[in-house]
Symmetry: none
Subunit: 132 residues, 4 copies
Amino acid sequence: MNITLAQAENAIKAAKQKATAIDTKMNIAIVDAGANLVAFVRMDGAWLGSLDIAIKKAKTARYFDMNTGIIGELSQPGGSLYNIEHSNGGLITFPGGVPIKNDNDEIIGAIGVSGSSVENDHAVAEAGATSL
Amino acid sequence: MNITLAQAENAIKAAKQKATAIDTKMNIAIVDAGANLVAFVRMDGAWLGSLDIAIKKAKTARYFDMNTGIIGELSQPGGSLYNIEHSNGGLITFPGGVPIKNDNDEIIGAIGVSGSSVENDHAVAEAGATSL
Amino acid sequence: MNITLAQAENAIKAAKQKATAIDTKMNIAIVDAGANLVAFVRMDGAWLGSLDIAIKKAKTARYFDMNTGIIGELSQPGGSLYNIEHSNGGLITFPGGVPIKNDNDEIIGAIGVSGSSVENDHAVAEAGATSL
Amino acid sequence: MNITLAQAENAIKAAKQKATAIDTKMNIAIVDAGANLVAFVRMDGAWLGSLDIAIKKAKTARYFDMNTGIIGELSQPGGSLYNIEHSNGGLITFPGGVPIKNDNDEIIGAIGVSGSSVENDHAVAEAGATSL
């Protein structure tokens, strides 16, 4: 099972609405089950450096089928996954990446959001992921 | 002057309509005046390898403010720009990348399209670029 | 639809048998529908530099859903896809990469083989791809 | 002395059996004495992001001829090898990489495993490394 472009565009639409509702400007990326980019938008005025971060968050969430922030808790100094960020051409392991599931609870892709605090990034990603 | 997300989304919409009209499945990327990605879509069933090519075509068109195919004519063996593709993390210099201008004829971004023959790629990119 | 590890291992077994039958030593890689590595073997004494080439051939075949040699015919100087090899972190466009299909003729992955002449590489890849 | 493909395949078989026995889905990589990939498998449903990690663990174990977890103890903030992960195109220094020795106690390669907790990753790598 793989996310369709129509589903990805719906997720981006929902994420943009949430971003606007909380007065933020976001980069929003959607990857498919193979961790390859399906859709992306950068809202006007959003941080330029967040472009790559949004894409890496989406990939990281699909690479390990979990929210990116969970990995970040384990990759701290002394943690069991310390410096895992050096793999896969660079991971981003703070919040803002969330897997996307279909009605059968199968992971079909992931969303990554970057442009504000990690709390806001996660809230916008969650809004996108749950819009399906 | 810089392309807005709304303009980029309109260009993608026009490009998708053209792609569907000529029965192709395309990857479509829009970059801004700084050659940074603004929006991207991969149509269902489009070649996976065209993801990177569409983005590189858009960047190449903005890097040099001309259609990508023009650069490709100069980058042939013996040509004045032989193997320019080695620069900028990899250029794509065959047709499918087109600058996007505003009403004052200023370049505000570029579109890159990949997924079919280079003639089709260029036609879809042109449809997107002229939609503004 | 995605290739399973059992299918990938069968394809590698068939490819190894063909490689031995024609007295060659090969690197053999299988990627899934998302172009991510599923299985790989390097036969004893096979060229070390063919390791990366076999993986790139498999990816290239899945990226564009065709035999790699077809792309190489179009990427020559003056060809419509000249220097496409600069995309996707490096393509290999000479023969030896072949898509793998299931019984419904859907592409579920690809095989890449490197270690001898391109004719031999292709013959071994074909043996693997058709073993399913 | 260098690991043979037959030995690598035996190590992978033993590692897969252990992975199944403890109900995990693993990426398993074997490198030779030159730290170059010999064999790899990704079990169905294993994390996609663990593909690169398994290979990097195997390389790291052979690069320094020790279990990866030992290096990770020294690469912490303030440690003598702080951020050694930046070398060699990216190291992975948490458990799951183990050198492979022959009967004369000579190192002939290494195994890297990723897909579960680091304790499980190490247990599966150990099962593969000691199977020879």
